[in-house]
Amino acid sequence: MRKSHPVRRAVLATAATVSGIVLLLSLKPASDPGSAAAAGGAAPPVAAQSPQGGAAQPIGNGTVTGDAAQTQYGAVQVRLTVSGGKITRAEAVQAPKGGQSDQVTSSSVPRLNQAAVAAQSADIDVVSGATYTSGGYKKSLQSALDKARAAAGSGQGSGEDAGGGSAQARTVTGDVAQTQYGPVQVRVTVSGGKITKAEAVQTPKGGQSDQVTANAVPKLNQAAVAAGDAEIDAVSGATYTSAGYRQSLQSALDKAGG
């Protein structure tokens, strides 16, 4: 039964917690692993997965179903009907159900289906009020496209990442850039020495990040296509995502260039 000292205990606990947190924060590298070494340290090697087939490569006919993408309201899974190398129909075979989700799904999925057919890629806008469903939809759509291309690619049986052929369109995926909110990874389609398409295959997720990502990434994609290089402006309110985007974009362009 030692004497208790509540005030002393409170002061000690506060001091220990604050100094522990400050220590942890100060031990983290002060941003941006701008050097390749730092990025390579945390990120998995990506080169292996980069030659994935480009937009110019025909995609096989028939239907293809993407992987189910989990969102916090449920799974989203997209099925594409492809004919003559074009997406002729997109539909969601799985979408969030129950409660509020029924409404959100019924209002957003038809629009996403249309957008997918119109864009012929996974680079479609997020439907407002359905951020998570849109995110999942895009993910599953991308996976369906990848599968369709892989099927077509194996039919053709050729390495499209032959390197250097700037006249031919090719798709290159940059290294993963770590930001404090999560990894960012950019895939660009380069044709005739120009960026014809830029998209983010990995972006920060969770909490506030979903909003920031949904808002910033489409703008960054556009900016990359417009600029033709990695010299793009940061989107305000998404400083980290922008920085990661630029870094991954630069790495993709480096790979495409040589």
Partner: protein
Amino acid sequence: MTTTLAGGRAARRQTMRRIRPRRSPAVPLLLAVAAGAVAVLWLWWTNTPSIADTTGKIIAAGRITGLLAGYLMALVVLQMARVPALERRVGSDRVARWHAMSGRYTVSLVIAHVFLIMWGYARQAGKSLGDIVQQTITSINTLPDMGKAAIGTGLLFVIAFISIGPIRRRLPYDGWYHVHLLTYAAVFLTFWHQITTGNEFAVQPAAKTFWYGLYGVVTALVLWYRIITPVRLNMRHRMRVEAVIEETPGIVSVLIGGRKLHRMGAEAGQFFRWRFKAPGMRFSSHPYSLSAAPRPDMLRITVKAIGDHTSRLRELTPGTKVWAEGPYGALTAQRRSRGKVLLVAGGVGITPMRALFETLPGASGDITLLYRANSTQDLALWGELAKIADERGARLMYAVNSPDGERPDISAESLQRKIPDVDRHDVFMCGPPGFAQSVYEALRGAGVPARRIHHESFEM
């Protein structure tokens, strides 16, 4: 087959083996808790490759405090799950103090978490600290499960507020207790935003599984030990009031009958939380120690009338149904490490001491009971204590105020004078806090090591 040796080393060894103390699992448990906290921090560490600037640091600090708060929240609930290992081995009193301490710490972390995250998000949106309230409202409206979390956090703050010492003392215990039960709702409501908005859980499925596991285990333990176990206990034993006996002015004993009461596993020195199904007493449960070793057909508690509840006890009529939860408490013979034992009782603190005085194994002269009261009239149960002392050859001493109201001298010197080998005893103590503190200091002064002073205190 061994033959029994009379006297000598073998017999002594036999005695020592019987009374080898069971170690309290407090230290390994605290180490496990610390290891869990390290794992939680490690989760943050691996998910955060770098921190760019001040905003990043603020949000990172918010995440760390949030993760720790979420982790500790589960443990704060666990501490009140009435897990036998905690209640009977660590001791209900100590666990209750842990609960209060970690509860205060957790609420502090929650406050820091809310403030830091909202400040960080405000800065991220290009706003300043002054817009933190606006940012909080925006986040509650836009982020998933944040509405629930906001209600839960509000509840938590109310509960924390009424648990502040001076405020709590002004509230009736029952009212305070029932509001405090809302903690379960608060924990449930705040759980979901951790999973859906927590960065660490969004990117790491393993972390999410771990979190569900932690909260799942705690929920299961609460359901099992706070609901199912008491229901089974009371279905089996069907306790009723047999008689109420006035021991001294203001102190009553309640005799409780039931079926196979020895099968409840209660030991001398332990207590139950009692609920009497009589008007005005139905909804509150109170801890009272057994004042005699449990018998197959009878339990006895002895209570001093100091509050509402205790005063009503004397009006209990035979046949009143009794709901009991327990046994709890670690002040039992298992704590003993020596052959010689000194029991110290202050006032109605005699109850567990009386049970131990009767049942602690020991030869003639091994057991001593020191009983402090205001006057000889206040020495409740004195008759039966004297009888036990006679039968067992145990020593029984009392200390009361002198006729002019002077307090008896209980100091290191007086203890050594009365019990020359006091430093070779295990001491069990029960009494009001001031009394316990002064006796503790006297005992330490007389050379009794702290680890051999066993004491139960429900002071927070």
